[in-house]
């Protein structure tokens, strides 16, 4: 029986290597570092790294503002591309899904990067993800990790997650402390504020090499202010039409800034 287990183990460990040997590659696979993709997120304003607090920014409407908080959920990752067999890409789409949930927080540098696991080896051309939390997780009770309601991204009076949050202040806001607050959420149609974002990967992007590839995402908050006059719209705290408009704005904030293949030991 034990011998059987050993054989099975060996078989499953060797199986991927056999596959790659056939593909004619000359590098050695270690199962741990071949199915992962690192995602780095850089928050920006018009391409410049976003600094919370004292740095002033001017939005498209001409309002000067400062950013105090910026958080969002990024979830349900999917890659689409072509499987590699015998060194050649097979035609047709090959998709994989990762149910990971990540909370980005501008004020916590630990949240700036994270790793997606179990991404099958392939050449990928599209990277897709959701900003926000799907309706299943919005109704499934008390979740843990980044979804723990202690993370300040959960509404108590009307259950549901805040998908994304941008807070700051501007003299044009005639509010307490000149604050503007955009807490965007809502999971029930027609006011579902989650947004699916699909981005073409600009360079050749292969998963399955010994080095872990990195995708650097740029989240540019300038998109939040499209069509927004801060003196009039400065507080969105409930699901509804205004939240949906803002969700359409933040759906456009992402671009892929770069793709990096530097081997892990060279970083």
């Amino acid at each position: 029986m034990r011998l059987m287990h050993l054989f099975l183990l060996l078989f499953f460990y060797l199986l991927p290597c056999i596959g790659y040997a056939q593909a004619g590659t000359d590098w050695v696979l270690t199962p741990a570092d071949t199915d992962k993709v690192e995602i780095d997120i850089r928050a920006t304003f018009n391409g410049n790294t976003l600094v919370p607090g004292k740095k002033a920014y001017v939005n498209a409407h001409g309002d000067t503002f400062y950013v105090d908080a910026f958080r969002f959920y990024i979830t349900n990752f999917a890659f689409a591309g072509s499987e590699v067999v015998n060194g050649h890409c097979i035609r047709g789409m090959f998709e994989c899904d990762s149910g990971e949930t990540h909370l980005y927080d501008l004020l916590d540098t630990n949240t700036y990067s994270f790793v997606l696991k179990k991404i099958p080896p392939a050449v990928y051309r599209d990277f897709t993800f959701t900003i926000g939390i799907d309706s299943f997780k919005n109704t499934s009770g008390a979740n843990g990790g980044d979804l723990d309601p202690t993370k300040g991204m959960y509404w108590a009076w009307n259950s549901g997650y805040i998908m994304a949050k941008l807070e700051g202040h501007s003299k044009v806001c005639k509010t307490l402390h000149n604050a503007f607050e955009f807490h965007i959420g809502g999971y029930m149609p027609p006011n579902d504020a989650s947004r699916r974002v699909s981005l073409p990967i600009p360079e050749y992007f292969e998963v399955g090499r010994p080095s872990m590839p990195t995708i650097t995402l740029n989240a540019d908050i300038a998109a939040w202010f499209n069509g927004i006059d801060l003196s009039k719209v400065n507080s969105i705290l409930t699901p509804g039409k205004e939240a949906m408009m803002m969700a359409d704005n933040y759906a456009k904030m992402f671009t892929i800034e770069s793709v990096d293949f530097t081997p892990l030991n060279a970083r």
Binding site: T139, G141, N143, G144, P149, T150, A156, N158, S159
Partner: protein
Amino acid sequence: MKYLILVCLFAIVICLSSGFDNGMKEIKFIIPDGWPKPVYNLSKNKLTDEGFKLGRKLFYDPILSRDGSTSCAGCHTQWSGFTHVDHSLSHGINGLKGKRNSLTISNLAWNTSFMWDGGINNLEVQPLGPITNHVEMDNSLENVVKTLDTAKGYRTRFYLAFGDSTITGQHVLKALAQFLVMLESFNAKYDKYIRKEPGGEMTEQELSGLKLFRDNCETCHNEPLFTNNSFQNIGLAVDTVLKDYGRMNITRDFHDSLRFKVPSLRNVAMSYPYMHDGRFKTLMEVMDHYSDGIVEGPSLAIELSKPMILTPEDKKDLIAFLQTLTDKEFLFDLRFRDWRD
């Protein structure tokens, strides 16, 4: 001699375990015969003795409020069916008044939504409402976790319940849910009548009340849970001070104006006053409302658009029936008491 020692040891173990157990029975969630499938997903929150006891401790501990003054039990006392009896509007921290009458707590596993406006979608996140409400506990879950982390005994209890002494918001809510879901009421005289058990012998008046109930009330307060979980406008004039439009505050749909959750009628005789703002002190006032007090409006429940004709005798019979929904085994169940453990 050997056997004697064994028997003695066995007896000691039995005594000790029952002594430490506060006389508690095994933790078992019961789905009574003929009841529908529960809505709450018990498979994602395994009920354990440790989890239940931790939830119970949290329910009775004012540590959940910002200044340590107000517990869940403050507005939800067991003997009244877990509500705030004799208070039209429940009050919380600093004696501040809320704008609604606290709901009873029983058979929550079958609830599809929570609160009078149904704003909360899952039993596990329900406690977030009162914990964060400024006139109830005025706290945050972040702060609850921080406070519990330094409070005596809690880390050990969380370890026993969840195998992790790091206290998280998720585990606070899961523990509370374990206690809340166990608050089941299905042993009233009515239940025994349905099950044809001893103690379920109804009087003629009660049986007449049951017939009247089935003719007039059953659509919304349907058996065995005595609610269909819907939201209805039952023709209560809006209070000009509170200006509470109920469900519309959540859905933003004017069709939902003045609609409130249909509350379960279990233990209703113990849970006065009545309605979302506690405007009626007695069940007779409630009867009078249904027979003579309906205020018409666009969102009025269709069932109430025709007058409900009830004679004074009918009203007494109906009340007699409603009293058969009082479940003393539930109201005085030792498992649900504050054990200070």
